[in-house]
């Protein structure tokens, strides 16, 4: 019974953490371009696609 008093808040806390992570991701627009995310892994130079305006490393 005492174990439950600890475990339930822990479970709720972890759940809330996941919920906030999801809210954060939605707010940042990470679900706006699902098809694009699937394609971006095919772009060879990963750094280039994420920061197109960054100067070349070499």
């Amino acid at each position: 019974m005492n174990g439950i008093l600890v475990l339930i808040p822990v479970a709720l806390g972890l759940g809330l953490l996941g919920l906030f992570a999801f809210f954060w991701a939605v707010g940042r627009g990470q679900f706006d371009d699902l098809d694009g995310a699937a394609l971006r892994i095919f772009i060879d130079d990963a750094g280039d696609s994420r920061t197109p305006e960054a100067p070349d490393v070499d």
Binding site: A11, D32, D35, I41, D45, S49, E53, A54
Partner: protein
């Protein structure tokens, strides 16, 4: 994530512009755009949204729209600027997905606690779990229940009822009673049912919003931005780019060849031909000289001209059509969706049943607490959970299938109205036909004549010349050496070949109403090259199929009588010619008045009011942007077949929706007597609710292949 944005941005504030780029296909295109655009001076960054086929460019405000479009063209992409109102991400779906996440989180946790209560936890443990459930449920219902409470409140204020009224009452009553139960150490708390109900219903709402967004993104990505602005000549001879809404009567515009006019006006200097098909539906461009009136939205396909603005913005004739369209659309907003029509009968029945059980058990002497508990059980059991999911689940699966078949349906109500259509009205130019002419007399030309024609035609941007050039080039014709080529708008082209005068232009003899051009070499008799505007592929087959589905078709066109009669005869349907937008609208209203539910298919701006007035409407992707906005569905590609496919898929969807309603009603017929008899516990309510929702969604998934 703070990225270096280059030297330029440190000095000036950047602006962002959104572009629709329908042509991107692969990862290579993304990389090309995101690296290629920032390489241009003045552009800080470009970000591709592949799902919406859009690119967000942040750039120096000094950089004008045409330059940016040019930059896209340099990379090999056609880009159309999108106004913010169209391109901004919708907050509705986002808000709903957040509410859905909260409801899902709460439903899972409360279910966990409830399961232990159901499996026998008693005494202090049960009270603690009920208290915890209440702590989770109350904020969840306050947050995730908002869409329903707001919609129910709006409906009640307007003096009618919708699906959300029984939902709101059910959830509120169940929560209040459960709170009382928890406080008085009772055994039955319905927190799990209340939150799970919200979760399932939000899933339905969210699917509905996603469907609207998806089609809207697709449509706005296809929009051809008609005339975002124009180059205005200043008194000192300089020129500046002005946005269309900043144009004033009296300004002088420089309209380049191939540009669309941003305002109505009179030609001050120059002579050119204008493609007015957008406004009048007439396929052939009209030659207009100094003093002639030109209309906003028409395309200059000849030489550059200077135009004095007579009307801009809301005073243009194009805006008149838009007003006509807005008025016509009012009738459609009165359409009541099938779920709300069901709710009209459903809500009073549910409330009457709950009240009846309460009164019945009171009379039987059960005490008000017991009676109220049973009445709430009835409300929860009958809450239209499966109904709320039945319609959107079926419609989103069908619209996904239609999207793969090349039809973008804008919302669920469009699918419902599409299924009800029983008459079909087509525009001609650009809808039944492809909207661009093709020469039919080419085999009669000898190689020299064809070569001369090609040499002349490639010097002009007249649609007939372009059609001729495309057809001749495709046939492998080699152009001849023609010199001293000059073009007179309205007359044609002339030049010299081997010392003879050659001419390509307006025929001097009558061609029977057909589009035609004449080729003259030296003193030889002129050779007529006739053009037809070919029908879309599968046009005749689609008309036959529509007939088979019970939709009689007819043509309402703004074009000349002879061409309309030809197309009508070829397809075997009645046709009317020479109609202006207001007359088309009147014809549609007359058909509607006679009891028909008209499916209007059109593309031009002149069809806009008719599209808005029809019971339901479709437009090809090549249509004017205003028409795409007015239409309920947009079909891609050159074939007309998607029209019949859409009707079939919409009817299949409606059948599945009806099956789902039958399933939901069947479930109620079994569950409601149990609830009224007082046999339903929170456990049974939870099982029944999720069971019926899963069945309804599974049935909806059968529509995956509906659009074949």
């Amino acid at each position: 994530m703070n990225r270096p944005t280059g030297l330029l941005c440190a000095e000036t504030a950047l602006v962002t512009s959104r572009f629709a780029v329908p042509g991107m296909r692969c990862a290579g295109c993304i990389a090309k755009l995101e690296t290629g655009l920032p390489a241009m001076a003045g552009v800080a960054a470009a970000r591709v949204n592949f799902t919406a086929r859009q690119v967000l460019v942040s750039h120096d405000p000094a950089l004008a729209m045409p330059d940016l479009v040019q930059a896209f063209a340099g990379l090999g992409f056609e880009a159309n600027p999108i106004q913010d109102a169209l391109g901004a991400p919708d907050s509705e779906a986002r808000g709903l997905v957040k509410a859905l996440a909260v409801a899902g989180f709460a439903a899972m946790n409360i279910m966990l606690l409830s399961v232990s209560v159901w499996s026998g936890a008693g005494g202090v443990t049960r009270d603690l779990f009920h208290l915890l459930s209440a702590l989770i449920a109350l904020p969840t219902i306050a947050y995730a229940g908002q869409p329903f409470y707001r919609s129910a409140w709006r409906a009640l204020q307007a003096g009618h009822s919708n699906m959300d009224v029984p939902i709101s009452i059910g959830v509120s009553l169940a929560t209040a009673l459960s709170l009382y139960e928890s406080a008085t150490h009772g055994a039955h708390a319905y927190f799990d049912s209340a939150v799970m109900l919200l979760f399932f219903l939000l899933a339905g709402r969210w699917l509905d919003a996603v469907m609207r967004d998806r089609a809207r993104d697709g449509v706005s990505a296809l929009l051809k931005h008609m005339a975002p602005g124009a180059l205005v000549l200043a008194d000192d001879g300089g020129s500046h780019w002005h946005r269309a809404d900043a144009l004033q009567p009296g300004m002088t515009l420089l309209v380049a060849s191939g540009e669309r006019l941003a305002a109505d006006g009179l030609i001050l200097d120059g002579r050119s031909h204008f493609d007015q098909s957008l406004i009048t539906g007439e396929a052939m461009p009209v030659a207009i000289g100094p003093g002639g009136r030109v209309l906003a939205g028409t395309l200059n396909c000849g030489d550059a001209v200077q135009v004095t603005v007579t009307a801009a913005g809301a005073d243009t004739s194009i805006a008149d059509i838009a007003r006509l369209m807005r008025d016509a659309a009012q009738g459609r907003s009165r359409y009541v969706r099938i779920a709300d029509r069901a709710a009209r009968f459903y809500a009073p029945a549910v409330h009457a049943l709950a009240l009846l059980s309460f009164i019945g058990w009171m009379l039987a002497g059960a005490g008000w607490h017991q009676s109220l508990l049973i009445a709430v059980a009835v409300l929860i059991i009958t809450c239209p959970c499966a109904l709320g999911l039945a319609v959107p689940a079926a419609q989103i699966v069908a619209s996904g299938a239609l999207m793969r078949a090349g039809v973008l349906v804008k919302d669920g109500s469009a699918l419902e109205r599409l299924a009800e259509a029983n008459a079909c009205v087509f525009d001609k130019t650009g809808t039944l036909t492809l909207g661009h002419p093709e020469p039919i007399d080419l085999p009669r030309l000898d190689p020299d004549a064809a070569g001369v024609a090609l040499a002349l035609a490639r010097c002009s941007r007249h649609p007939l010349s372009e059609a001729l050039r495309t057809a001749l080039a495709a046939a492998g014709t080699r152009p001849r050496q023609v010199t001293l080529i000059s073009e007179t708008p309205g007359e044609g082209l002339r030049g010299q070949w081997r010392g003879q005068v050659v001419r390509l232009g307006r025929p001097t003899i009558e061609t029977g109403g057909m589009m035609a051009t004449a080729l003259l070499i030296g003193n030889a008799p002129e050779q007529i090259i006739r053009f037809i505007d070919p029908l879309r592929p599968q046009a005749a087959q689609t008309i036959r199929e529509l007939q088979h589905l019970g939709l009689g078709s007819r043509i309402l066109s703004g074009d000349a009588a002879a061409t309309v009669a030809m197309v009508a005869a070829e397809l075997g349907i009645p046709g009317e010619a020479g109609l202006d937008p207001a007359t088309k609208l009147a014809r549609i209203n007359a058909l509607t008045g006679a009891g028909a539910r008209v499916l209007m298919v059109g593309d031009g701006l002149n069809d806009g009011p008719a599209l808005a007035a029809g019971h339901v409407s479709m437009a090809p992707a090549s249509a004017a942007d205003a028409s795409q906005m007015a239409a309920d569905a947009v079909f891609l590609g050159s074939s007309l077949a998607p029209v019949a496919i859409a009707i079939r898929a919409a009817r299949a969807t409606q059948a599945v929706v009806r099956q789902n309603f039958a399933l939901a009603i069947g479930y109620n017929i079994i569950a409601v007597p149990l609830a009224m008899a007082g046999l339903v516990t929170p456990l049974i309510a939870a099982l029944a609710m999720s069971g019926s929702s899963i069945i309804v969604v599974a049935n909806a998934l059968r529509l995956k292949g509906a659009a074949r």
